[in-house]
Amino acid sequence: MARTQYEGDWSKDVHDALDGSGVTQIGYVPDGGMKNVINYCIDNPKMSAIPLASEEEGPCLAAGAWLGGGKAAIIMQSTGIGNAINTFSMIEVCQFPCLVLVSHRSSWGEGNRWQTPMGQRGPDYFKMAGFHTHFVEHGIDAGETVAAAAAQAYNTGNGIGVFFSQRVMGVKKFL
């Protein structure tokens, strides 16, 4: 249980891993669990932080960035995975690197049943779309998992999903 008592700032670790991997474009759909990661990216002058109107835009942004010699990463909530399935297909067909950090609803103490269908099936949808999956269950693992996933994505030309447990991000409270 000691691993859950990480005193560091996992969000900063994730940002630093992205920065250290040369990621300069962050497409994100607003999300509470990943709020601090998003804010670190917004505050980084080397990064363009781009609020997406829909998750499907993320893989397209990543593809365009790669065509131009840049690296993009996407932050989305598991609830929106279904919106991106069609554009995930382009990642597989063209072998574009596509690093996706997923705020994984229903992974730990979920309070809203509407978030569970996509949350529970999300990793399977990623796999069906040809993506690899990694999981972060403890804050101490967050930075190195993202760094490893980034290396894998940009070196192998694959889609990679990194699922962040609510155990790490905190559980959204409902009345």
Partner: protein, 200 residues
Amino acid sequence: MYLETDGRLARREIVKRILKDRDDQPVITGLSIASYDSVAARDAEHPLNFNMHGALGGAPMLGLGLAIARPDKRALVLMGDFDAVMGMRAMATIGTQMPTNLAIAVFDNAICSETGGQTSPTAGQTGIDLAGVARAAKWPVARTVVTEDEVEQAVDDLYGAEGPVFINFKVSGINPGSMKKTRDGALMKLRFRKALLGEA
């Protein structure tokens, strides 16, 4: 010069004009006729054509990613009207970034030629005004081109105006035909990067 036999704008002739003497211009196209137009204007092997054959609606966001990655280049996107309708949300996303080097040209024939000629949401008096959507997203240049006389200025703006630029060419429904080309996305990606970056 840019007219079809029905008296309306000829999309392929306009694309040929846009890409004339622009061999170093990176081009993203959406699906269907827009991709064939780019092949007709250059050729099937041109490395700086990236033609999408799936992920309908995605071309504007590829353009945004490219524009941000390469601020020293113009990012030019060519696409059809239904592709643009499906990608309308991206106009809002692009509007949050205001990339000055992104230009999108839509060829709006008001029909979905590739899939059986169904009427597009842009058709007729009640059809959606795509340039109006871009204006609502506060793009600094966003207008519709209907006549031959407007083509040259539109081409100038696609390359020279401070973007993002959105030009909707209202074109003839006559299909200028498909062209032989590759649909291998990995091949197109590799040769695009090789030509633009010197590495695959």
